[in-house]
């Protein structure tokens, strides 16, 4: 960190330059969290007497348990699939370096541009046996009618695959990048010592990139918990009623904008914020991912990847 303590000059200009960001941080980071908390105890249709019962009321809402089940099912597929698949792919890419592999990496990143509303459109077509670009594969699994696929019970799988394709490519590249940070000296030593490719991956590479794996897991978990656009568009724009209040964010949206219950919606938002916050704190304080930011490392000893 640049040390300027011995300059006893006025920091006014510095504070002025910092102000725009701090204002944004206050108004759109801290203040909404406070306003959300203040909104919760206000009396509403659902919480006629007001007070902190809003949390209890929202948890006992008849749509909460189904949304919980859906999101839990979705996360149980999406998060492990992401972690194992991404790490596996990154390790495979890392086995042998060939110039043509850059084309593979370019291909992996393409689905990341298909997210949200566009992902809904594209996956509607992919899972439509008459239109699908993978007709052959669908036929192989005897899927010839769209009604066989687009059913409520299949949504956890469909949405998990959609979410997976939208983010997996980016993370494969990022984890491949993290593997590049492992010193060649260590890898060479392991190779000389007779490590197989598998042993090298499990005993050397994965432990050395574990903080990046935790970082990815936290971001993937926090993002998955907030699933909204895909079920909302499927429900409203394609198959009416297939995913009504399917996820927590949809329930929160319905509470606020269909029932005018902003207290209940805020209570749900705050409940959802807790696991994300815990994940963030885990990455910040329990891994050394950002240790430089906490001033533990002397400047002369640090090296930052990428820059």
């Amino acid at each position: 960190m640049a040390k300027t303590k011995h300059y006893r000059h006025n920091n006014g200009a510095m504070y002025l330059m910092l102000t725009p960001y701090v204002l944004l941080l206050f108004f759109f980071g801290l203040l909404p969290a406070i306003l959300g908390l203040l909104e919760i105890p206000k009396p509403s249709m659902a919480n006629a007497n007001g007070g902190w019962d809003a949390f209890k009321i929202v948890v006992h809402d008849f749509r909460f348990a189904p949304a919980f089940k859906h999101v839990l099912g979705f996360m149980a597929i999406f998060v492990p699939l992401m972690i194992f698949f991404v790490i596996g792919m990154a390790l495979m890419l890392d086995i042998k370096h060939s110039p043509w592999k850059k084309w593979l990496r370019m291909a992996y990143i393409v689905p990341a541009s298909i997210s949200g509303a566009v992902a809904v459109l594209v996956w509607y077509v992919i899972l439509q046996p008459t239109l699908s670009p993978i007709k052959g594969a669908l036929k192989f699994f005897h899927l010839t009618e769209s009604t066989q696929i687009w059913q409520q019970k299949n949504l956890v799988y469909i949405l998990a695959i959609m979410a997976f394709f939208a983010v997996a490519g980016n993370w494969i590249l990022i984890q491949y990048g993290s593997l590049q940070s492992i010193s060649q000296e260590i890898l060479e030593a392991a190779r000389v010592d007779g490590c197989s490719v598998f042993q090298m991956a499990v005993r050397i590479k994965i432990p050395l990139i574990s903080k990046y794996i935790i970082y990815m897991s936290v971001l993937v978990f926090a993002g998955g918990l907030q699933i909204f656009v895909e079920p909302q568009l499927l429900n409203g724009g394609i198959y009416s009623g297939i995913a009504d209040a399917w996820s927590f964010d949809q329930l929160s949206y319905n509470l606020a904008f269909m029932q005018g219950d902003f207290g209940g919606a805020s209570a749900l938002s705050i409940l959802l914020l807790i696991p994300s916050l815990l994940g963030a704190l885990l990455v910040i304080f329990k891994t050394d991912m950002f240790e430089g930011a906490q001033g533990h490392i002397k400047k002369k000893n640090i090296e930052v990847q990428g820059f």
Partner: protein, 311 residues
């Protein structure tokens, strides 16, 4: 092998040295390569469909191969048809998407780079609090606060005003953190010291010393701000209820709802919006992001791993 390598290997409990370098079996190399190629092909399929679909007519989409190219005129026809919808509102959505994203990219990049610079080059108070709160905001998904943000925007009468989305999305903690890391590690403190001795004030320190050395940082910040906001759906969906203020992704969702293209619930309409038209709207959203990703692959990796500081 150095001592430190030995130590590390011991720590990692590597198997007993055999003294032989093992080579991978040719079959497993072949299997791995085949799988890597298969996944690459799978990754390309959705985009290939999206880009080719508008070249065909709706009928052709049903009976021709999904990988067949129709004609260039098909794109023009699809665009013409989209223009019939609601007096050419698609043009407004496109312009909205461009200007909201441009405003966000500029405000976010400027505020984040200034913040990163100040935290790295000065001794302002509450540095640690600032960094921790930035890290927390960076790791919590922005949509987590959508409802409270709506309540806030409603209080200041900014709902249905594009500035609500622009200002909210301009908070860029990830960018501020990247800028902090960049300035801390790329610009030696001695440079600031000598500039100060030469009479530079703090503004000049940023504009004459830090900024000219920031090209890689600025492009990185602009890249992440662009990809994070061009296709954003939830925030504008909540904040901007009027279709005149929609962005392209919101407009695409609106087309799903109000045309029979992919919604069997909507009866026939006089506006010729079918799958090729919808696919063209989708391609207008996805292709710019794809281009950005392809030309900025390295930026993506650098940015996401820049937080990692190692001894």
């Amino acid at each position: 092998m150095t001592m430190s390598t030995n130590g590390l290997l011991k720590k990692l409990r590597v198997s007993k040295p055999s003294g032989k370098v093992r080579h991978q079996h040719p079959f497993s190399t072949f299997a791995v390569t085949t799988w890597l190629v298969i996944f690459a092909i799978l990754s390309l399929i959705p985009m290939i469909w999206l880009v080719l679909a508008p070249s065909k007519t709706d009928k052709e989409l049903s009976y021709r191969s999904p990988y067949a190219f129709g004609s260039f005129k098909g794109y023009w026809n699809a665009w013409k048809h989209l223009r019939y919808f609601d007096n050419g509102v698609i043009g407004t959505w496109l312009v909205n998407s461009i200007w909201y994203t441009a405003a966000i990219v500029i405000i976010a990049t400027v505020t984040a780079s200034l913040a990163g610079f100040v935290i790295s080059a000065s001794n302002v108070k509450f540095k640690k609090t600032f960094l921790i709160s930035t890290l927390i905001m960076m790791l919590v998904p922005p949509v987590a606060l959508v409802i409270p943000l709506f309540v806030e925007m409603d209080k200041v009468h900014l709902v249905d005003n594009p500035w609500s989305v622009i200002l909210i999305s301009s908070l860029y903690p990830f960018g501020a953190f990247l800028a902090y890391i960049y300035y801390t590690t790329s610009i030696p403190a001695e440079l600031y010291e000598s500039a100060r001795l030469d009479g530079c004030n703090d503004f000049k320190l940023f504009s004459k010393i830090a900024l000219p050395l920031s090209t890689p940082l600025i492009s990185l910040l602009a890249f992440f701000a662009f990809i994070g906001n061009w296709a954003n759906y939830f925030m504008p969906y909540v904040m901007l209820p009027s279709s005149q203020h929609y962005t392209l992704p919101l407009g695409l969702g609106f087309l799903f709802l109000s045309t029979p293209a992919i919604n069997p619930g909507v009866g026939a309409t006089s506006v010729p919006i079918y799958k090729p038209e919808i696919a063209l709207a989708g391609a207008l959203i996805a292709v710019p992001i794809m281009i950005m990703f392809l030309i900025s692959q390295k930026r993506l990796i650098r940015g996401m791993l820049a937080g990692s500081i190692k001894e």
